[in-house]
Amino acid sequence: MNRYPLWKNILIGLVLFFGLIYTLPNFYGEVPAVQVSSGKATLKLDASLNGTIEQALKDAGIEHTGLFSDANSIRVRVASTDVQLRAKDAIEKRLNPDPRDPSYVVALNLLSASPNWLTSINALPMYLGLDLRGGVHFLLQVDMPGAITKRLDATAADLRTLMRDKNVRHAGITREGNNVLLRFRDAEQREAARKAISASTADLQLTDRDDASDDLKLVATLGQNAQKNIRDFAIKQNITTLHNRINELGVAEPVIQQQGLDRIVVQLPGVQDVAKAKDILGRTATLEVRLVDETPGALEGALAGSVPLGTELYNERGGSPILVRNQVVLTGDRLTDAQPGFDGQTNEPAVHLTLDAAGSRIFRDVTRENVGKRMAILLIEKGKGEVVTAPVIRTEIGGGRVQISGRMTTQEASDVALLLRAGSLAAPMEIIEERTVGPSLGAENIAKGFHSTLWGFVAIAIFMSVYYMLFGLVSVIALAANLLLLVALLSLLQATLTLPGIAAMALTLGMAIDANVLINERIREELRNGVSPQAAIHAGYERAFDTILDSNITTLIAGIALLVFGSGPVRGFAVVHCLGILTSMFSAILISRMLVNLLYGRRRKLESVSIGQIWKPGN
């Protein structure tokens, strides 16, 4: 009656085995590494860079212990901090031949020291929260009303252009709160306007408002969908921009994520210089449209050293030099959106730009006057510009929708679109929460959390083994398995471990022993009532199960509520708490049962079990 079928034993064994493997990376600690990331928004990291870095290290006679690359960075693991510095110098020299204009950010970093085979099966150590490793944390609030107002202002200007194009006479267009108000003198013109607007955009909802017989109004409001799109776009764009800016800090593993509808969390582990971090978060890159100087011989002259007056020499993306006029036709402020797509006629990859009304007018005039010439789109970062693309103007472009195409792959098109959007923030942001944790405090927090868990565990282990003898030992092993599984699960989910998380781990362990105590007490009770040992073990586990289930589910309800409504440290606590309840049920019920089965299950005639003293009233 106390035997598990073989498959069940094997299954539990497998779970424990995987638990062990995924827990392992946490014990290896960290070794020095060098991180390479792109220093310019226009520069992407690709596979060829791996080879370049490897060659640079080889030439300098430096051995590395692993090279890892992901979308945003390439990291090289080295043996010691001395080697780390030499490796950084070697890579820096190779990748940034011109130290005044670095293309790549080469930074010192730490990487997990776990062997490559573990990393390759995705067994990674837990991510440590800022309170455990030190760094800065910002919570930024995106000014959504600001984004909407900005869009409404643009809409008012767009409508003015539209009315002029369609020859509709109006008596003024103004923005009033969250509406755009169009005034008309007669109903006929209003009808014409309504038709024109409906035909051009689906974003606006139109309603009539008559204040007087000669003061007819059309109220245009942004529809729910349009508003939602504006918000989504604003937050996405701001996150993209923040990514580009933070890249420059050379931070190892920055966290930039949306929180709630209109907030962005930025965490920069290891950064201590708050002022610099804030400075970089607030920095803007700008986009400029200028005309290319195509005077014959001018480019050759410029390359030889004499740049003609009123022009500047830039490098086009891909390498070839290009001479651009100083006069700025348009800036990124006029750009409302940039999306990758395809050319309607040739079907080749293209980037679609949307300009605001003023931008459209300027663009139409400039393109009309310069058909057949080239136009350069520049991205200015840190006071240095780069020509993203310089297409030939084929026809006059009106209506504010501009298409850039030619010599582009789909990937390049989406990169250019990203770049054009990346320059500026869609809506202003404000820091509403800021935390800085010193690195020594972080290390102290880890030690404290670790010690409290360890000593608590030791105390429980001693007590259980003394009080319940062999069964107590089984409970302790189950508890250890619980800790193992919990850490494995957290590592597997790549959850962020924080100090409250460690506290939750300790508390969960303290509470997890409850299930084992319930079982052991039940077995003792059955024995006290004179039941045979085998039957007592069976009944103990069976009867305790209901109670364990009920009590754990109520605890889980509390945990889930914390998870749903908590933020920051509360959530860190809740994640570990909830997972811990699940693993503790598994280990208390299945693992301890398996051990007991293996110990006692095979014996036909079991005289007694080692569960401590059974006191019977009457003795």
């Binding site: 409250p500 506290a503 109520t554 945990g559 509360v570």
Partner: protein, 309 residues
């Protein structure tokens, strides 16, 4: 080893009234202190700036206070934190000052005072965030209460659900009462601990209730108080041992966890003590007074209606 050698069921229910009066007094006191003194809310809830700095040698607090006052913070709180070398500074939010620059200015002021402070931690929380945290906390509390009541009502009976939640809210209020009385800092981790205690304490009541249900089903001829006495007596050993183990863990946190975990562990300690007390001596009598009886657990056999010809 066997700690509990109980021959007969202990007569808990006989003293139910006395214990409940004690309970009520504690509860009223807790509410009184909450109302008069209020909670000492951390910067996370109130908004403001908190700066923790460490000095190589214990600094004089008075010069720091006056320096902060002259730099525009007459209402700054400066106090030692953990040891005499660690200083904690709290600055309330001010409308007229650019909040994002506060931490830099504070550090500059401290450096001007001298003693080479080392920055350990800065927390700046906008007023809006604080309000949201408080309302989220309240929502979490409500959700926990609702979830537990529904689950218990489904698994047991509404009487058990009501008594469990009353008993355990009483624990929560008493913890809060302690924090109000001693003016301990009520931070987000403490809130997490309080909510965890709610779950934990219900867990406790559930174990007793489980036994009550089982006893009702198995043993005939016992009065309701006798059933409750039996259920509590037969689980008392487990109750004490479990709480003892959890308390050992929490004690380790209290001793080794440092300042950050101190109040978290404190809230749990109080919660565990009152958790035992309330599940045994508050929840059970409440169930009794709400009129629990054997019939509620024994499903009456449906008599087959015979077809009338």
């Amino acid at each position: 080893m066997e700690f509990f050698r109980i021959k007969k069921d202990l007569p808990f229910m006989r003293h139910a009234l006395t214990f409940n009066i004690i309970s009520l007094i504690t509860f009223v006191l807790a509410v009184f202190f909450l109302a008069t003194r209020g909670l000492h809310l951390s910067v996370e809830f109130t908004g403001g700036t908190l700066v923790e700095v460490a000095y190589a040698e214990a600094p004089q607090l008075e010069p720091i206070r006056s320096a902060l006052a002259t730099s525009g913070y007459p209402d700054a709180q400066v106090q030692n934190f953990g040891s005499s070398r660690d200083v904690l500074i709290r600055l309330p939010n001010r409308e007229d000052l650019d909040t994002t620059k506060v931490s830099e200015r504070t550090m500059a002021t401290l450096q001007a005072v001298g003693g080479a402070p080392e920055l350990r931690r800065v927390e700046f929380v906008g007023p809006q965030v604080g309000k949201e945290l408080a309302s989220d906390g309240a929502m979490a509390l409500l959700l926990v209460i609702f979830g537990i009541v529904v689950y218990l009502a489904m698994r047991f009976e509404w009487r058990f659900a009501v008594s469990a939640i009353i008993a355990n809210l009483h624990d929560v209020v008493i913890i809060l009462g302690f924090f109000a009385f001693f003016q301990w800092e009520f931070s987000l981790p403490v809130l997490a601990a309080v909510l965890a205690v709610l779950g934990y304490s219900v867990n406790e009541s559930v174990v007793v209730f489980d036994r009550v249900r089982e006893t009702f089903k198995k043993k005939r001829g016992l009065t309701t108080p006798e059933v409750l006495d039996h259920a509590i007596t037969s689980t008392i050993s487990r109750t004490v041992i479990t709480h003892g183990s959890t308390q050992m863990m929490v004690l380790a946190m209290l001793l080794f966890g440092g300042e950050t975990l101190h109040y978290f562990a404190m809230a749990l300690t109080i919660g565990i003590c009152f958790g035992i007390y309330s599940s045994v001596l508050v929840a059970s009598p409440l169930v009794m007074w709400l009129g629990v009886s054997r019939e509620q657990f024994i499903k009456p056999k449906k008599e087959k209606e015979e077809a009338v010809v």
